[in-house]
Amino acid sequence: MRIAAPNGDETAEISLERLHYGKLAFGATLRVPATAGYGVTLRSCNLQPADDRLLSPPRLMALRRFEPDLVDPASRRRGSFIARVAPEPNSRRAIFLRARFRPEDGESGHGRLYQQSAVWSVSAADWRQHPAALLAMADSELDALPDLVTEDEATRYNAAPARYLVRFIDPRDVWSALEDALKATHWATPTLEFLARGAETGKDATLTFGADDFASETEFLGAVGLALQFLPSSYPRWREISVVSGLLHAPQGLCLRYLPSLRAAARATPVAA
């Protein structure tokens, strides 16, 4: 849906369905009570229980099991991130997942770890049109935080989808920003070459950046968002693109990945595998 904003810019409203998997918690440090077990703790009203399987973290990460040693050490606190078109065939939704392992005895605790994750589900068309805005939103607002024991269960399983207004970006602005990046940064050329080569060859590949390329995940997601925003609508492998941060595993297809623990000593240039 296009909406004309008061300043004349065109905006679109994006609806985000939400699903949380993990354990309920309480208190300032979000400690897990002894009685709390694993489960889906929040599900938007437009998602069905049948979606729980489709939106489970291992499935979205193309893993049999999500394990702590798959999380980049520098990403342990906030967790791993992935954005992609959902893996089921002909899926019409894109997903954004943040998943981590946190101690049951609270945020700075030393107890047993458990898995906590948060998923956003949006229409694949919105992801195709607004990758930069969605990645920026996910960076700032998608966190794997437990829901509270005190929250009403009926509310948690009937949560309203989150709605955001995003501005359509002028393609000339995108090109202008990318042109600057091509001159001033190390990431723009390999990223565009990677995407172009991926379209040509049709092969699976991963382009991995490290701490020398981006100082933070925020910078990485901003850069990748810009590159994806630049892709023409006819780009043939859009559905196979995944944006990954802090995860040592790369899904099949074309994967743009950031590992904050990776430094230049480990590899000279971004690696296309």
């Binding site: 354990k23 077990g37 399987r53 291992p58 049999r64 394990e67 458990y114 898995q115 269960e153």
Partner: protein
């Protein structure tokens, strides 16, 4: 002759199922079990492909291989404080078991054994009583199928929190359903009470001596069973009518500290951690002091059907009650 056996681990969450499994190979390697040392069992983690291969003989290349894979990861997670098993799937770990020493010929001639041990989150089979837990239906169906197809089931219960447990109703119902299921293949069922070391927390260096006395374990089991009358329902599973043999035992994944012999929980570390050597990381930091206690018992009984000094039948548990009567 190779025998493939499937063993299902069930029990409430935080009962110690994954810790029991994670310490299994070390327990066998350190002979920290109640069987005769002359039994000389050996247990080696194997891959799914090796489990389903025609031959059970270990590959020559395996002689020098470094342990990797799911089981090694489980051991690593245990060393780092543990990880709550998620409810998104059930997880299979496979082993090759051989008995290299003295054992009854009927047992030895059947080996080697290829074991598939199935671990799962406690919330799936034994959810908290009265709680609505959103578990994926296909995961529940998978575990139900695995339980019905299992040759043995190991029920892991935390010894020290039995009275105030919030799951006994659901476990009792599960036992009833299992007893009534005509399609089950169950041959053996072991109830293992975990966290046994905590009973001896105040005994300091005498703890291990008392823990090593089977009479103490028998006493602890009788006391626990008196507090958990619902476990009497397991009698329905016993042969001849139920077709299975039921045993009770105790274990401790943390065990007792080597040389010092006190329970292996370091009060100076945050959380519940074992004693460790400062300056070392991972499993190496714990190995100097760590000796698990009887964590092989339920699996060796489940696989071999051999009793140890610490596996007790209903007949043994009932004996004293009859004497008193």
């Amino acid at each position: 002759m190779t025998e493939r056996l499937s063993i299902c681990l069930i029990g409430p969450k935080k009962g110690g199922k994954s810790s029991l499994l994670a310490s299994l190979v070390d327990c066998v390697a350190q002979s920290a079990f109640g069987y005769s040392p002359r039994l000389r069992p050996a247990l080696q983690p194997i891959t799914e492909a090796e489990y389903f291969a025609e031959s059970a003989e270990p590959k020559k290349a395996n002689l020098l291989s470094v342990e990797q894979g799911d089981y090694e990861r489980l051991r690593r997670e245990f060393a780092e404080g543990g990880l709550a098993t998620d409810t998104l799937d059930t997880y299979e770990y496979r082993f090759r078991l051989t008995v290299n020493g003295e054992a009854p010929p009927a047992a030895v001639l059947r080996g080697p054994w290829l074991l598939e041990i199935i671990d799962s989150a406690g919330e799936i089979a034994v959810p908290p009583d009265g709680a609505e837990v959103a578990i994926l239906n296909d995961v529940k169906a998978k575990l139900a199928r695995q339980m019905l197809e299992a040759d043995a089931i190991v029920i892991v219960l935390p010894l020290v929190r039995l009275e105030d447990s919030g799951w006994s109703g659901n476990l009792a119902r599960l036992i009833d359903r299992l007893a009534l299921a005509p399609e089950k293949k169950l041959k053996r069922l072991v109830v293992v009470f975990s966290q046994y070391e905590r009973l001896f927390a105040r005994l300091g260096p005498s703890a291990f001596t008392y823990a090593c006395d089977p009479a103490v374990a028998l006493h602890a089991l009788r006391k626990s069973l008196r507090a958990a009358q619902w476990l009497d329902r397991l009698r329905a599973l016993e042969a001849p009518n139920g077709g299975a043999s039921v045993r009770f035992t105790v274990c401790s994944a943390y065990g007792f500290v080597k040389r010092f012999q006190n329970p292996n929980i370091d009060p100076h570390q945050p959380g519940e951690r074992r004693f460790r050597r400062a300056g070392l990381e991972g499993a190496r930091a714990y190995n100097e002091y760590w000796r698990p206690f009887l964590t092989a018992e339920p699996f060796l009984y489940a696989a071999l059907g051999l009793d140890s000094a610490f596996t007790f039948s209903y007949a043994q548990l009932d004996a004293r009650i009859e004497e008193i009567a």
